[in-house]
Amino acid sequence: MAADAAVASGVESIAQQTATKAPGSRGLLGWLWSAGLMLTLAFLVLYPVAMLLLGALTNTNPVVDGFGVFDLSVQNFSEVLANPNVHAALINSLVACTGGTALAVIIGLTFSWVVVRTDTPGKGFIAAASMLPLFVPPLVAAVAWSILASPKTGLLNILLNTVGIEWRFNAYTMTGLIVIFGIYYAPYVYMFTASALRNMDPSLEEAAEVSGASAVRTMFTVTFPLIAPAILSGMLLSFIVMLGIYGIPAVLGTPGDIAVLTTYIFKLTAWSPPLYNTAAAVAIILMVVTGFLVWLQHKITSRRSYTTVAGKAFRPAQLKLGPWRYVTLALAIVYLLVVVVLPTLALIVAAFRRFLFIRDLASLFDMRQYGLLHFERLFANPLALRSIWNTMEVGLITAIVGGVVAFAIGYTINRTTLPMRKSIDVISTLPVAIPGLVIGVAYLWAWIGLPGGLYGTIWILALAFIARFMPDTVKALSTSLLQIHRELEEAAWICGKGLLGTIRSIVLPLARPGVIAAMTLLFILAIRELGSSLFLYTSNSMVMAVLLLDYYEGGNLGITAAFSIVQMILLAVLISVANLLSRGGSGDSSGVGRAG
């Protein structure tokens, strides 16, 4: 019986296979692999953070002194903590972020309730509108709003003037900062609360209704308390992102002299001589606060969820709003107008208009005032072209190197029993708690003193971005890896494939959409990143986001707007490509989000 013999020998070879060892466990190669990953992570994350700490604890100037002398002291910290400017920046940060978070909760919670729990028409549209702000780069949003609502020349104020209203918008105030924060970071709250509402067993609310509670009472005594963890989680996340963002306070806060922690840190390094040590100390304070909030958020999310799942499938009960459903729809339209449509129009007007000075409404529609002047001047500047080229290069390096590293880490964490994989997991998650700006300062400290090193090349930018977005990429890749059933891999091993062969022939093809999506996401995040670039660019390695801010600070709104439009179009193209590649997978939007 030939068939029997074949089966028998098959069984034998399987037995041999299991007798030797399952691939991906221990052995010298495994140790080497883990050690390699640990070294990579140490190079990307641990070393810069250690240098930042060292910088904060000494008075050595890394540019002048190199790293010869180390006088360790906490003097920087005590000075910083006693400095009234730091106090002001800290208080401004807290006020702006608290106010912004409060507004974000109101907007996010309202829309999640409208989308999940009411019969408002066009809910698909509202759901999309609620997430859209995540894709607007914060710097561009801030620039657009300064065009719309600067106290003297803002387009909205010209409109108010023409209709004879005395009152003026002013984006350059704390209120302006809070409103812009609130409307652009509402999606974080929305994401969390919408899914919590969707997963809530409707009979919990029905029980309240049967018990005699009115709809409003049910909402406040049952619904909101039940999704409180989700609300809190979204709140903390939006707070964290606002705290670490640079672009918006730089654009809106500077004219009104409102310094927040991030803008203050940058100011310290821009003084002459630059106060790198003080900057490092403030950056560490920012990092500690962020780290604490991230830890708090993690605690809340990992706690047992209140949302219990019922025995039978359910769809959330929907409130019939009657004529009010057009009010809720109108709210969503207004939100979309404020967050996306108006800013885009403002950018278009500013970019194509020769002079932004607009006397009245008639002049706004005077076509002779429009032209391609700003675009011509933008592209006549070699630095602009260079920055676009650099940005693409940095993006590409970040995407490819970062994608490969993250895949290696994700596979090691999720699919092997290699030594040190717990530490690898923890260290690769660490950058979640480090704001982009702090990463920038840390990389500055890590490389500026080393001659002939990375500083001044586009590689330092790429490495900083890889480190900064590592948690998001690893998480996205882990999700797509976990969707590949383990047995698919085991089947390949049984068939005699080695570990690498299995990865190449089974895992990679199956995970390809996820890998490509993660890489595209990295590319997008890298080309819009501002916070960490600020400290790492030189004129040779200028990137778009930094140059955009330069143009803005140079006072040329026309070119700024034109450049913003170029950047938006680039992003829009990339995001559509990403969407096509991941085929409508929405799981990655959170990554875009955290980057701010």
Binding site: D201, S203, L204, E206, A207, A208, E209, V210, S211, G212, A213, S214, R217, T221, V222, P225, L226, A228, R304, Y306, T308, V309, A310, G311, K312, A317
Partner: protein, 369 residues
């Protein structure tokens, strides 16, 4: 306090156009427990939710006591909170962010009951369900059975006119289900509340219900006390759903009062019970419960005694199912006891008592849509 419930010509058509409830009428006298029994999708839960006010019927009328609470044709639709009824959900629906006491006190708070009276009532309700010692616990620390007791206390604490229970035991494990099932009837009877109970589990229905209504495809087929349901099923579906799994095809030859004679396809003559309306000449299916097949004769000549061959046995520990080749079909017979009395291949006499052989028109089906 407890009121009677009346449902008249209730219809509920979903937006898909399918009628979930089709012309259902029944009434529950004050203090009675009525169980709606049927396979999933038969409309029993929708009926219950219409009574609760959580679902809006298309037409028909529902009244609790003297008050009409739902009559769409007349524009009457009382919201759930004003119907003064209690409801126990399949998923317990106890609020996880509250303690046991807070859960039970909630309905009283919404009614503005003063604190002293409230605490007394909560204590009474918790004692009723046997959870007095758990008042200050967060509900998330309770077992499923305890959570369902909290839900029950919560729905009884304000002495509602009607108690609605939507498969309250189906999320519990088997052992707990049996215990809570017995307790449930005791507790409900103690409070004297009128109860409407929905389940797909026959045993639950029989233990709990004063009367049982069997539903199928949105229609109420029969509502009767359990023994009537089991001894005089109104149609083939009810007979088969309640366990009459043996079917013998034949034709009615004669009728005499409630009984008649059927010629089985294989030629034998059977005496059977005939529901009203079944006429001589009609093709019928005769339904027989496995428990009602008597193996062996007691010597006297009895009607419906047939010769059968034992073609198989299924030993189930405390009972045995014999597969009998007779009347041109395979008839299952169930006998209690731990011993198998007849070997496979043996020939025995089998008695099918005529009162327990029910003939239904052959066009009736046993499956629901």
């Amino acid at each position: 306090m407890s009121a009677n419930l009346k449902v008249e010509r209730l219809r509920k058509v979903f937006s898909t156009g399918k009628a979930a409830i089709d012309d259902v009428s029944f009434s529950v006298p004050a203090g009675d427990i009525v169980v709606l029994l049927g396979p999933s999708g038969c409309g029993k839960t929708t009926t219950l939710r219409c009574v609760a006010g959580l679902e809006h019927p298309t037409s028909g009328e529902i009244s609790i006591g003297p008050d009409v609470v739902s009559a769409p044709e007349r524009g009457i639709l009382v919201p759930p909170r004003q119907r003064n009824l209690g409801m126990v959900f399949q998923s317990y629906a106890v609020w996880p962010h509250m303690t046991v006491h807070q859960n039970v006190a909630y309905p009283l708070k919404t009614r503005g009951t003063p604190r002293g009276e409230r605490n007394g009532k909560v204590a009474d309700a918790l004692e009723l369900v046997g959870l007095s010692d758990y008042a200050s616990r967060p509900v998330t620390q309770l077992s499923g059975g305890q959570m369902q007791r909290v839900a029950l206390a919560r729905s009884l604490v304000y002495q509602p006119q009607i108690l609605l229970l939507d498969e309250p035991l189906s999320n519990l494990d088997a052992k707990l289900r049996l215990r809570l099932r017995d307790d449930l009837r005791k507790i409900i009877k103690k409070t004297g509340v009128t109860a409407l109970y929905v389940t797909h589990d026959q045993a639950e229905a029989v233990v709990l219900g004063d009367r049982i209504g069997v539903m199928r495809d949105g229609k109420l087929l029969q509502m009767a006390p359990a023994d009537e349901l089991y001894n005089r099923p109104a149609d083939l579906f009810v007979a088969s759903f309640t366990g009459a799994s043996n079917l013998v095809e034949g034709r009615v030859m004669a009728r005499e009062g409630d009984f008649g004679q059927v010629d089985a396809k294989s030629g034998e003559k059977m005496s059977v019970w005939l529901p009203a309306g079944v006429q001589p000449g009609e093709a019928v299916k005769v339904a027989i419960r496995p428990e009602n097949v008597r193996l062996g004769t007691n010597g006297a000549a009895e009607p419906n005694t047939f010769r059968a061959r034992v073609s198989g046995t299924r030993y189930q520990g405390t009972q045995t199912v014999y597969e009998l080749a007779m009347l041109g079909a395979t008839i299952d017979a169930l006998e209690l006891g731990t011993r198998v009395r007849f070997p496979i291949g043996g020939e025995i006499d089998v008695v099918l008592p005529p009162v327990q052989c029910w003939a239904y028109p052959a066009q009736q089906t046993i499956e629901s849509e």
